[in-house]
């Protein structure tokens, strides 16, 4: 599976994703500069964490209007998948590729900590190696991760099973105390209607080696690779 890791000015999880993809899951991977529009030779585009353009106006706002992001709808229409983590999630929302928006954390502080995620939808290319109800452990690191969507959008999300991860306790209970940033309904990650674009605030690349404290993040990559191996369905090209 050919991965491309997008680099915006101010991106910083790019090297981490690159390392995990090339050294841990051992797949072909390259960096994609933010001005690039040609994604034809890729199967999966990763929008990594960081502070693209400093996030000075709103997190992800400027990057959400960049050439590479403008090229994503066509890439997805052609069978590609997109994984946006942290700043990547913010960018996908700002670009309108995912519904809703990410606001300043309710505690008004940056939060870097371990979180537990309840898997809600295990039928996306990103979660096929998982079971619904399973609990994953992954760190977060953000100041603007409070997911917001209006009631109608939330209904649609539910109707199409677009909520993939919710913040939960280690036992899988979705509680207020387990919500690190005040996200509506503890939402930590969602997909688009087709399930081909995933945005999540946690960092799977930081949970991909036991030396780093856990490997739950690898499940997302394994799901992607498994999806490819079992049926090339989402890879139309």
């Amino acid at each position: 599976m050919r991965f491309g890791v997008v680099v915006f000015p101010g991106t910083w999880s790019d090297c981490d994703f690159h390392y995990v993809i090339s050294e841990v899951i051992r797949q072909p991977v390259k960096y994609v500069w933010h001005r690039e529009r040609n994604l034809a030779d890729l199967d999966c585009v990763v929008l990594p964490g960081g502070f693209s353009y400093g996030d000075y106006l709103r997190a992800g706002a400027v990057a959400g209007r960049s050439p590479v992001v403008e090229a994503l709808p066509e890439f997805v229409a052609g069978g590609g998948v997109v994984l946006g983590s942290c700043n990547g999630f913010q960018i996908l929302c700002e670009a309108g590729l995912l519904p809703g928006a990410l606001m300043r954390n309710e505690c008004l502080q940056y939060r870097c900590q371990s979180t537990h995620l309840l898997v809600e939808n295990a039928e996306t290319p990103f979660t096929r190696a998982l079971r619904p109800g399973q609990v994953l452990t992954m760190p977060i690191s953000h100041g603007e991760g409070k997911y917001h969507a209006d009631p109608e959008t939330l209904r649609t999300l539910r109707a199409h099973k677009q909520v993939v991860f919710r913040y939960a306790t280690a036992a899988g209970e979705v509680t207020r105390a387990a919500n690190p940033n005040g996200s509506v309904e503890n939402i930590a990650g969602i997909v688009n209607e087709d399930g081909t674009v995933l945005g999540l605030m946690p960092h799977p690349e930081r949970a991909a080696e036991s030396a780093m404290g856990g490997t739950d993040g690898l499940q997302i990559f394994h799901s992607l690779l498994g999806s490819l191996v079992e049926d090339g369905a989402f890879l139309k090209r």
Binding site: P9, G10, W12, S13, C15, D16, Y19, V20, G49, G50, F51, Y53, G54, D55, Y56, Q109, Y110, R111, C112, Q113, P139, S141, G143, H203, E205, R206, A208, E209, A211, M212, G213
Partner: protein, 745 residues
């Protein structure tokens, strides 16, 4: 632009120079300096840049060692860690700016030290912050803490370097003068270290990064502004950080360096362009000619003086290889940065500064580096002997030692600092093997089996009571923390925070402290490869009152090496049924202890003795035990004594694990439990490996003994047969988790 003020002795004084220094300048130049030239001297001969009062002492620090690739004198020091890699690291203070504007002051402190690291060609991989404040129960102090921590968080997080460690301590002496010291560690190929040199006559000099404004121009401009009606507009402004531009600078500089077209590079920190244009040629025996009108400017009508002294952030001066200008410009353009040619390297000996073609300064580069060195008289403070003579045993014993322990664990200095570090990204770069919360943090070196361990330490109360021993103990403690993680200490960086060196008792503290650091570094064979001095940390509490100096606070940062990243240790107990050993001497003292301060509000008494040879051996023994896979946890005994150390080993891990231990009988209970002394480490050992451990300790020739076992959900401490503490872990954990945070919530 108003007319330049006339150069007089009074003006020179206004810019911080003494009459004697002013005479020297005239003598050296053979004429009166111009206004701009006077500005150059005032900046480069300032205490901050020239170390006028501290240089004589700093020379005493050991600076050489087998691993040293770069000692003091460059932007940062560098050590060889094997497999072709080097670590580059340094600590710096940003105390005064952080008091004026906590958020931006701390943020720009982070920005400055990051630049020091990546100008050496290294990618920053870790930040550590060492902070000192007044009482967190005070609302004003809380706002300072909030501002400083969020400033560090903002800059480090946005830039993308993890903050993996540090410390926060409190004492009333810091209320009017908080300390913000930031250390940064970077990684570079050992043969790819860049230096701040201006070599090669005719090579182009580039200015890169943010535009120049009137930020932080040292009080100097204030004085000059009275000469025209634009005083208000010219007022020096607070420096503001731009971590995004800094991140672009990092990537662009590393990429530019990789082309081979960079000859030398230095960041524009204190005294900005003045400092770079004189220090860079100064190091390589060349000269430099620059044209100031080429400098990218953010404000209208900036004078040569202002352009030279501005401390606008996120700027670099770079000497390129002649003929490869286009290559450099392309790299910077890719990162949306301007690289502007502002001059060239000359044969010397002068720094020649022009503005719109007109020469505004011509000064021998060497003259700017020839600031006077002062050897002023010093003497111990008058009341110190009386303070040292105080016997803590004259104070009442606590009626209930368990209560005393819970209170001590909940004192802000000892309690968990998670409130601060959860605001810091701790993992970006995916190198952090041990996160903040253990004795030292550990970062792997990707592509090798190696890892580095880092820690910063300092204890102002100890140094106040006994500057020499206290400072030596700071080196030992930082190194011991690194050893407790399994790292072999390789090198030191230090930040010397003191009051005014013009007072004999402060200068004495400084002299003694440096001597203590030097002794400890020699004994532990860790050279000092860089550091920083911050003097004049005092406030005048009320008009006419005597200035109140901070506690003398040398902060020591140590970097150590683990040959095998798999063999690391953390401070918390891992399982029940393991044996607990206490390594090191029994001797402890309540003099200068956290207990004496937290419970009795006193800073007095004598410190426990320090035997550097024992210290060295204890650290070696701990590392050997970790290397052999015998130690499942290792935790250094520091503030709060052995009782707090054991309590922390019980409750700071993910799953609390209790223990029972028997301490030596005989002494008074509070002294045995909470007394502090150097060279002590608590280690847990799997019961199956007990014999092996005993053999190893015998070989290490250190004092040590088994003191107990892990398990259960209580901490039980005995002295002889008497149980002196028996308390549930939940109470201990609650006190520890909330002791600091409850103030900040």
């Amino acid at each position: 632009m108003g007319a330049e003020p006339k150069v007089t002795l009074d003006l020179a004084r206004g810019l911080g120079l003494t009459a004697d220094e002013y005479d020297r300048i005239i003598h050296r130049l053979g004429r009166e300096p111009s206004y701009t030239e006077l500005g150059l001297f005032s900046a480069l001969w300032s205490e901050h840049c020239a170390y006028k009062h501290s240089k004589v002492f700093l020379a005493r620090l050991p600076q050489r060692g087998p691993h040293v690739l770069q000692g003091p004198g460059e932007n940062a020091g560098a050590l060889d860690i094997g497999d072709g890699w080097a670590v580059v690291f340094k600590i710096e203070s940003h105390n005064h700016p952080s008091f004026i504007e906590p958020f931006q002051g701390a943020a720009t402190g982070v920005g400055g030290i990051l630049r020091d690291i990546f100008t050496m060609g290294a990618r920053p991989i870790a930040i550590l912050d060492s902070l000192r404040f007044g009482d967190p129960a005070d609302a004003k102090t809380r706002r300072l803490i909030q501002g400083v921590v969020s400033g560090i968080s903002w800059y480090g997080n946005c830039f993308g370097c993890p903050t993996v460690g540090g410390e926060i301590a409190f004492a009333p002496e810091y209320a009017g003068n908080p300390l913000v010291n930031v250390m940064c560690v970077g990684l570079v190929r050992a043969d790819r270290i860049f230096r701040a040199r201006a070599e090669g006559v005719g090579n182009p000099v580039f200015y890169v990064g943010n535009k120049t404004g009137r930020d932080g121009i040292h009080g100097a401009t204030m004085a000059s502004a009275t000469f025209d009606e634009h005083a208000e507009e010219r007022r020096p402004t607070v420096q503001v950080g731009d971590p995004f531009t800094e991140k672009l600078l990092l990537e662009a500089c590393l990429e530019a360096m990789a082309t081979g077209a960079v000859v030398g590079i230095q960041d524009m920190g204190a005294a900005g362009l003045a400092c770079c244009t004189s220090e860079m040629p100064g190091r390589s025996g060349t000269g430099m000619a620059v044209e100031l009108s080429a400098v990218p400017q953010r404000e209208e009508g900036m004078t040569p003086y202002e352009l030279l002294l501005s401390e606008s952030q996120e700027r670099m001066l770079l000497v390129g290889a002649r003929g490869r200008e286009e290559e450099l410009r392309r790299v910077f353009a890719k990162w949306e940065l301007d690289a502007v040619r502002i001059g060239e390297v000359t044969a010397g000996p002068d720094l020649v500064v022009r503005h719109r073609g007109e020469e505004v300064a011509r000064v021998p580069v060497e003259a700017l580096a020839e600031a006077p060195r002062y050897e002023k008289p010093y003497a111990p403070p008058a009341g110190l002997a009386a303070l040292q003579a105080f016997d803590p045993m004259t104070l009442p014993e606590p009626p209930d030692c368990a209560e005393a322990l819970v209170a001590l664990l909940g004192s802000p200095a000892i309690a968990s600092k998670e409130w601060a570090y959860r605001q810091y990204d701790q993992q970006v770069g995916i190198n952090t093997l041990v996160l903040p919360g253990s004795d030292a943090s550990v970062l792997r070196v990707k592509g090798t089996r190696r890892a580095i361990a880092v820690a910063v330490d300092g204890n102002g109360r100890h140094v106040f009571l006994d500057p020499r021993r206290g400072a030596a103990m700071a080196v030992c403690e930082a190194a011991r923390n690194v050893s407790c993680a399994g790292g072999r200490p390789l090198g030191v960086t230090d930040c010397l925070n003191f009051g005014s060196p013009e007072r004999p008792e402060i200068l004495w503290q400084l002299a003694e402290a440096v001597e203590g650091i030097a002794e400890a570094c020699r004994a532990l064979e860790v050279p000092v490869v860089g550091g920083n001095v911050s003097l004049y940390n005092e406030t005048v509490p009320a008009v006419g009152a005597t200035p109140q100096a901070i506690l003398p606070t040398p902060i020591v940062g140590v970097v150590g090496l683990l040959e095998d990243a798999g063999l690391l240790a953390t401070q918390w107990f891992k399982a029940a049924g393991e044996r607990i050993a206490l390594l090191g001497p029994e001797a402890v003292s309540l003099g200068g202890s956290e207990y004496l301060w937290a419970r009795h509000g006193r800073v007095a008494g004598r410190l426990a003795p320090l035997d550097l040879e024992i210290e060295r051996r204890v650290q070696g023994a701990v590392r050997a035990a970790i290397d052999a896979g015998l130690a499942t946890a290792a935790h250094d005994c520091a503030e709060g004594g052995v009782a707090v150390t054991l309590a922390e080993a019980c409750v700071t891990g993910r799953t609390p694990i209790g223990c029972e231990a028997t301490l030596s009988a005989g002494g008074r209970r509070d002294q045995t439990l909470f007394g502090e002394g150097p060279s002590r480490v608590v280690v847990s050992v799997g019961s199956a490996r007990q014999r092996e451990f005993e053999a190893l300790m015998a070989e290490s020739a250190i004092p040590w003994r088994w003191i107990g076992t892990t398990g259960g959900d209580r901490l039980r401490l005995r002295m002889g047969t008497e149980t002196v503490v028996d308390v549930g872990l939940d109470r201990l954990e609650h006190a520890w988790r909330n002791g600091f945070e409850r103030h900040m919530a």
